[in-house]
Assembly symmetry: C2
Homo-oligomer: 452 residues x 2
């Protein structure tokens, strides 16, 4: 038979079983946390009509898009979860109740240049709250609190959420007479961390003809360690700035009420989030020990989700986690908790009678008690079966031969302690359940001692 | 602004929030059941290299495939989860432990002619056990037992699993001198239910030159109400048939040990499952009140999973549920349990103070207790906020105004009973938890009284 060499496309993550279990743990943690905050799960097609997906124009993304025809249809694979959300809300507007709070975790596609740690197929995990005509500011404080809860539930400790408000930035630019160039100036400020203070000032004075003094003052304010106080200097001079300042103060106040510790968030006026899309609070999240990764969770407030599809005014606020890349980086850096079970089963039953019926009945009893159970019915040596359990990390084995059937007691082997004991089924189930409870402690991420 | 009419492609399921919650319940039930049986979750790319995906040749499917080029790459979207599994096992053979038990729930793509209830993007939910060189027969009994457990956990009652063994059929055909045409005869038999007894006999005598007597005997055996007994007539005449007969008897014996009630499975010799692929036990599952839907879960034993990728002999057994179609049919027929919560939250907090901090703190306490909570902070009338809760089916509301803050007691409204009460936070949490426990009883599917 002619054979084809099996391969997986470059830029497409395909995990081995143990890694996959760890990744599933991320997915479950996100689903649980998002649900606790009252978000409903959503699922939209991966394929959309190209004209719908590119209604806004794809910008940078357009070149990366997977686009093709099938019959007469011009189709594309979604490149984010925001455009499908906009389509969904516009299409189903009459059937939805607002504010509409949804989470979506799904694969998106971008034909990026292939390089290590960059993916062409990757999971995004988004939450958004969409209002009908209006949306209260408190949502802008709740969203970063959910970021905090999510990463904490995953077990991440050394991260910080940076927040800013686009009204503050636009107000400052207006004061400098830069209203027309606000977008370009914003993108210049966004590069502050990358290109440095001097270059930003040079760009402002040379390209945008800001006076050296004004540029210096702007940078002084943006880089202030007490930004709310520094901004007070400008109060009363620009309505937009005043509004942004009030919003920023209130968001910070509410974030404390939401239980975000003060060392886990900071107002950082240099965070601009380049997209024109954002109009209020914006967020970035950085790992303190890995600033080189960039933001692991970003988002913000926008005033018009679906203007390309509908006249309805649909303001919203949301964040997105690039989950595949985050998982890749955390695994690469040794952050995954290796102490948690990754085995496909908790118990392996080794039947040692010709008729497997007693083993099958025991498996049924264990499964009914919520214990994940496999029966090893293959024609293998006893030692090979134990090796199978050990390779997979299955914590318990039960031997069931004539002796056990006669005595009514199962032989339980606990691989963690190495102990072997004879137990009736109910006692054994209780023992295993207690052991599993112990083994399931901990979080998917475990930061290394050295970084704490 | 130029607007594009939002739309979702025909043949692509996109659910409203309440339906989506019901669909998620299906997904969770499947994940839980499959895990209890010791299957590990797997996730493979949706896009594969076309030469890899079509290594076997796509047959009927090839015309339906979504295939396109990106750069120099000839790519295709997966059309099932079996070919990606074969690729995965061949590619990662050295890193896997066998028997390899995996489940995969994911979207697959087929450009079928668009019609009601047919989907171009749909979820399949597969489980397979793959052996390395050999695989014990007991797996062929465990797999249909998992079908039984899965549908029972979903709440389905009136269904039956039909099992057969390809060795029995091939043995019978050999006895009739039809070894060469076994495949064609198999496909003729497969149509028995559809075209009827007479036409099958006519095809056998006219096309395959079987004597009228032999054809009559064959049909008599296949349609016997006591097939194991009927097959005994042939014992000793053909090795393959003898082997199949023994396997069928043992699989039935083990299925009982696995706890499948005798009225939920039947040996049916007319089940052939057309594919050449299968070599041992085969399965179909039918809803007793909806035979017109066809099989809702099918599969079987195969001897060589990945022969197009590797020389390794990898026998296996597996089943697949076409989840999107099943959900569509069940919803269409009114099978979904409308009594279960589909709300995005369990509690809606209505803050009635300018500063939302007390409402936020209460929300945090509820969420910490595992209660899904929303804060309604919008500038809306009290009545509109209650209407929001009712539209979404949120079962509880908590009012938090000056009175409540002064007394330290929350006002809890239970929409199910209509009762309103003043409670301290801990008492309220306990009450809500008890109420939610009650409301979460039941199964995702609830068969109508008339069909029971």
């Amino acid at each position: 038979m002619e054979q084809i060499k099996p391969r997986t496309l470059s830029g497409f993550m395909e995990l081995l079983p143990q890694q996959q279990v760890q990744f599933e743990r991320f997915l479950n943690t996100l689903r649980t946390t998002y649900s606790l905050y009252g978000f409903t799960p959503l699922d939209t097609p991966i394929i959309e009509a190209t004209e719908v997906l590119l209604a806004k124009g794809g910008g940078e993304t357009e070149k990366q898009i997977y686009r093709f025809t099938k019959g007469d249809n011009d189709l594309s694979l979604r490149f984010d979860l925001t455009v499908p959300l906009a389509k969904y809300v516009a299409l189903h507007y009459g059937e939805l109740t607002f504010p509409f709070r949804r989470f979506q975790i799904g694969k998106v596609y971008r034909g990026e240049r292939s390089q290590r740690g960059r993916f062409r197929e990757f999971y995004q995990a988004d939450i958004d709250v969409i209002g009908d005509g209006a949306l209260d500011l408190s949502n802008e404080a709740e969203i970063p609190s959910i970021i905090y809860k999510t990463f904490t539930a995953l077990g991440l400790k050394r991260f910080k959420i940076r927040i800013n408000n686009r009204k503050v930035l636009n107000g400052l630019f207006e004061l400098l007479g830069l209203k027309q160039q606000a977008g370009d100036v914003m993108r210049t400020v966004d590069k502050l961390e990358k290109i440095g203070r001097e270059k930003v000032i040079a760009t402002l004075t040379d390209e945008f003809h800001v006076s050296a003094e004004a540029a210096g003052n702007l940078l002084h304010t943006l880089e202030s360690t007490d930004p709310l106080n520094a901004l007070e200097y400008y109060r009363g001079k620009n309505n937009l700035l005043d509004e942004g300042l009030n919003e920023l103060a209130r968001v910070a106040h509410y974030m404390e009420a939401f239980g975000v510790p003060s060392d886990h968030f900071v107002i950082d006026l240099t965070i601009a989030r380049g997209l024109d899309y954002y109009t209020g609070t914006v967020y970035e999240t950085v790992m303190l020990d890995h600033p080189e990764i960039g933001s692991i969770c970003s988002g913000g407030r926008y005033d018009n989700l679906a203007e390309y599809y509908t006249d309805k005014q649909l303001p919203g606020v949301g964040i997105s986690i690039g989950l595949t890349r985050l998982f890749f980086v955390l695994e690469d850096q040794g952050y995954l908790n290796g102490d948690m079970l990754t085995a496909p089963a908790d118990v392996l039953i080794l039947p040692m009678t010709d008729d497997f019926s007693p083993a099958i009945s025991l498996a049924t009893a264990l499964r009914d008690a919520g214990i994940r159970t496999q029966i090893h019915g293959e024609q293998k040596k006893f030692k090979q079966k134990l090796s199978y359990a050990n390779k997979l990390g299955i914590p318990y084995a039960v031997f069931l031969g004539e002796d056990e059937l006669n005595s009514g007691l199962n032989t339980l082997k606990d691989f963690t302690t190495g102990e072997q004991s004879s137990l009736d089924t109910q006692t054994m189930i209780a023992l295993i359940q207690a052991g599993l409870k112990e083994k399931s402690k901990g979080t998917p991420i475990q930061e290394k001692e050295s970084t704490l």
